[in-house]
């Protein structure tokens, strides 16, 4: 199911690039990709996140779990939802948060990623949350930081966006129950540029999802996508037939070079989710989107705001999932170094 060649061609991802996520006791140390993690760990993340949703619904939305820890958000790429929910997650766990704005930092003066990391490490950072335009950047960081530091991948190139995938799994689980084996999930849109889709497919497979359909024009599908264990559809109507979950992806115009699409209008006519096409899915199907949504490009406004849409629940779940991953990884690293730290 896993494309070994794709991995070997990326110099930033090593041969065993998912193994560095686990400590010697098999517990989560870094969260870099969903790939290679078992269903026990994914379920542990979802269960822990479910507990944290109760904290987020309280009047005082804060627990003292990570008091005294320093978490550095290192975003080399624009982000609103991911960065703010990572920041809120850290703050609700009582950690101190440092947001490094790359466009105004020394990186723009030519400092390398490694030098930036080492400098922040010298400021006693306990965790790096990294978003980077290059696939493998978070792995690279995880291999080079001090052993007590955890690294979370907040999106690297086209490779992975594991916390997004897990917040999507939590949203599906809350709406459709714990057993994914009877579910039909359709992922629609720009699969080619989407690290979200890749992470979702790995997570859905690990959680034993019944059917995973990917729906896109040929120009927006990676070559070997079937090897990930999905069914490919070029026609939206066929792809979302009887679906329990419809995940729409954003058209990543900023990553497109050349003529991948005739026009946005034509894309919308063929692949945009409208209230009419949604009728082909199951009547109780949920509609998801990782955001930001392009209204009238990949999704009709009335669908995005409609009763089947859980798009804003995904945002809320993002905080709980990030709290879960932060507390799990920092809990493990503390365990390793014991009280000496």
């Amino acid at each position: 199911m896993v494309n070994k060649n794709a991995r070997a061609t990326n110099p930033l991802l090593g041969q065993d690039h998912w193994n560095i996520q686990l400590d010697e006791n098999g517990r989560l140390k870094h969260f870099l990709t969903v790939e290679g993690l078992g269903s026990e760990i994914l379920t542990e993340i979802l269960d822990t996140a479910e507990n944290f949703t109760s904290v987020n619904n309280r009047v005082v939305k804060k627990v003292p779990l990570l008091r005294g820890k320093t978490i550095t958000n290192l975003f080399f790429e624009a982000s609103t939802r991911t960065r703010t929910t990572f920041e809120l997650a850290a703050k609700r766990l009582s950690a101190d948060v440092l947001n490094i704005n790359i466009s105004t930092s020394a990186t723009s003066k030519g400092e390398s990623l490694l030098d930036t990391l080492y400098n922040l490490q010298a400021m006693q950072t306990d965790m790096f949350v990294i978003r980077h335009q290059d696939s493998g950047a978070a792995h690279f960081a995880a291999r080079h930081v001090a052993p007590y530091i955890s690294v979370l991948n907040a999106g690297d190139g086209r490779h992975a966006h594991p916390t997004q995938a897990m917040l999507d799994m939590l949203t599906i689980r809350q709406n459709k129950g714990h057993d994914f084996s009877g579910l039909r999930v359709a992922i629609v849109g720009d699969i080619l540029h989407s690290r979200v889709a890749r992470s979702q497919i790995h997570a859905l497979n690990t959680l034993n999802t019944g059917v995973i359909n990917v729906v896109a024009p040929r120009t927006l599908l990676p070559a070997d996508i079937e090897k990930l264990g999905v069914k490919v559809h070029y026609n939206l109507q066929q792809g979302i037939q009887d679906a329990d979950v419809v995940i729409m992806l954003r058209l990543q115009k900023e990553r497109m070079q050349g003529a991948m699409l005739p026009s946005e209008l034509e894309y919308y006519q063929q692949y945009g989710l409208t209230s009419d096409t949604l009728k082909l899915a199951k009547p109780d199907a949920i509609v998801m989107h990782p955001g930001p949504i392009n209204r009238g490009v990949e999704i009709e406004s009335s669908v995005a705001d409609g009763s089947q849409s859980v798009i804003l629940d995904q945002v809320s779940n993002g905080i709980a999932v990030r709290m879960a991953v932060m507390s799990m990884t920092l809990g493990t690293s503390a365990q390793q170094t014991g009280e000496e730290k």
Binding site: T53, V55, R58, P64, L65, A324, S327, A334
Partner: protein, 180 residues
């Protein structure tokens, strides 16, 4: 239902949980009356404390639904043992402010669980008072926390750990643990 246990070497008899809960149900009303506490909120600490609180809540016919507290996000040993996702979340009434709380746990030993529970309660508001009820209070206190109402006082050996198992039936389990 086992009537009781005998601890090796000490010959201490442990009363069965059901009898202890009955005794707590008898002791609690006069205690509350003496403090002029009416309309209290009963809060059980997961997991054993909730089992005890469920029976107490029924016996005392308390109006306000039983609240539960999961203190795993407030533990002081997080840096050593990490998080435990399997425990159910806390369910507290929306208003803790100025309410009289009856906090219920199964075993009081170090006092650290109660410290964590009080920290969590105060995140919901400022209670008028907190009354601590424990099925068993044993030796090994590490904090200046004592129960107001206790089923049974126990003096166990360092290596012995007492645990309430349940919910049906409730029973005590004594284990030998390695002491560092």
């Amino acid at each position: 239902m086992k009537p009781g246990y005998t601890i090796k070497n000490k010959m201490t008899k442990i009363t069965s949980p059901d009898i202890l809960i009955q005794q707590l149900s008898d002791k609690l009303p006069p205690f509350l009356a003496n403090k002029q506490i009416t309309n209290p909120v009963m809060v059980g600490i997961h997991t054993g404390g909730v089992w005890v609180a469920e029976q107490l809540h029924r016996n005392l016919k308390i109006e306000e639904p039983l609240a539960t507290l999961n203190i795993s996000f407030y533990r002081d040993d997080f840096s050593r043992i990490g998080v435990h996702p399997q425990v159910t979340p806390s369910t507290l009434p929306s208003e803790i402010e100025d309410r009289h709380i009856i906090l219920v746990d199964d075993v009081l030993q170090t006092g650290r669980t109660i410290r964590a529970a009080m920290n969590e309660l105060f995140d919901y508001g400022r209670p008028a008072s907190i009354t601590l009820v424990c099925l068993v209070e044993r030796d090994g206190h590490e904090l200046p926390i004592r129960a107001d109402i206790v089923g049974q006082q126990l003096d166990l050996q360092n290596k012995e750990q007492i645990k309430l198992t349940g919910p049906e039936p409730l029973a005590f389990e004594i284990k030998q643990v390695d002491v560092l």
